[in-house]
Symmetry: C2
Subunit: 260 residues, 2 copies
């Protein structure tokens, strides 16, 4: 096994390159197309960064398996002895296109099926959140994060998902009405950052592995709860509802949902 | 009448001072109390900045009338011959307290009952949006803004209000489902900035005069529509639902609401 610091050095170089690529193209050279529907976007920049990450991983860590949002998919990841990588070149592509902010580039790294390191890069703010079991800590750039306060639902803002709110999924609107209010950002990566920073007490959305694995590795390192809305463990590599929350908010939300 | 540039110079000095005060106190010295309910917050910083703005206005423009969010209220404003000022020391106090970002300091200036200048200062990003009929333009710091593209609802993100979404106010959730998605920021000032910058096609919320007048002056200068949800003119100094939108989005939203 390669020393984690060596992996970390590589990843930071790659993400720095991805940022430069994004900044160079964001104002002038973004070609947008749709995937599953009109609000599921992909751009040439998403694809270019995924290809770049995949190429670098294969070059420096040749025995790796990789799952990427924009199509790269190796099989047998969970049973793989060695590294597997889950990459989301741009999380929040809609924001990338419409807002030119509030999106993130993300990477999760597992070794022998166990979480090792997670990376969420808020590109426009130039804030890289990284860490995990490998270093038993989470950093924002070079600054070590403290675990956030164990906020109750009533004392915290709730990070919501637009589709869930519109159909009051599992009674989520009652959860929101008992919080300090809802915020909708539109990027799982940024919402994970906001829970880890104590700006939100919780965030709930239906997510795919590349949306939540980097955040899950980081949030759990800080002692936050990452489970399904029913309080079940999130099975790595499944698409599911994912709740990241403080311990207090998680148990309050679980009660409200179960009584709904 | 004082030349608008002289007023503008004063206001920018005051807002710069307010920013310094906020940055000095945000991490260490914020005492929070509630107003109408648990989610209606005010802090010592809100009060201190309002007092400072009022003192400066009275000092340099002694014949002014002033309405402030945190309690300063002169009467007879609409019939007043001379200046009236509407000030919101911190718009988005909940975000100021919980997020330490996504809030704004705001000022609207009227002369003989007519709009003159508006100011929305995104303090943490150090971006001051200012302008109005006095200079027939809107600037972000020193850069002149172009009018945003006339986005349709389906091509734009929709800035929503949490309480309205929770009770599907006037069918707003159907409006959202026909947009590119909802975002909830929790500060009217920041949402006005986002519509003016083309990040949103529309923003709707129930607002008080200090929440919307600075943005109304700026948005109308850029050719955006600022009306009630029923397409009626917003009466200055009333509390009402306020929709700021592109021309296209406004007429589409109006149709959806009217058929609901």
């Amino acid at each position: 096994m390669t020393a984690w610091k060596e992996i970390d050095q590589h990843v930071k170089v790659w993400m720095n390159y991805a940022r430069k690529l994004i900044l160079a193209q964001i104002k002038t050279d973004v070609q947008v197309s749709t995937k599953s529907g009109p609000n599921d976007l992909v751009t040439n920049v998403d694809k270019e960064i995924e290809e770049y990450y995949v190429k670098q991983i294969k070059l420096f860590f040749p025995n790796s398996l990789i799952l990427g949002e924009e199509g790269h998919k190796d099989s047998g990841m969970l049973k793989h002895q060695g590294y597997f990588w889950v990459i989301d070149p741009i999380d929040g592509t809609m924001n990338f296109v419409k807002e030119q902010e509030n999106f993130a580039s993300m990477i999760a790294i597992y070794y022998n099926g166990k979480p090792l390191l997670g990376y969420i890069y808020d590109v426009m703010k130039d804030k890289l959140f990284w860490g995990g079991p490998a270093c038993q800590a989470v950093y924002c750039n070079n600054e070590k994060l403290n675990s956030p306060a164990n906020l109750s639902l009533k004392d915290g803002l709730f990070g919501a998902s637009c589709p869930m709110v519109l159909r009051n999924y599992r009674g989520i609107n009652e959860v929101i009405s008992k919080s300090s209010g809802a915020r909708i950002v539109g990027s799982a990566g940024i919402e994970f950052i906001n829970v880890m920073s104590g700006k939100l007490c919780a965030y709930l959305s239906f997510l795919r592995p590349w949306d939540y694995l980097p955040g899950k590795i980081l949030a759990e390192t800080l002692g936050l709860i990452v489970k399904t809305i029913d309080g079940e463990p999130v099975n790595v590599l499944s698409s599911t509802d994912v709740l990241v929350a403080t311990d207090n908010a998680q148990s309050e939300i679980f009660k409200i949902i179960n009584n709904y």
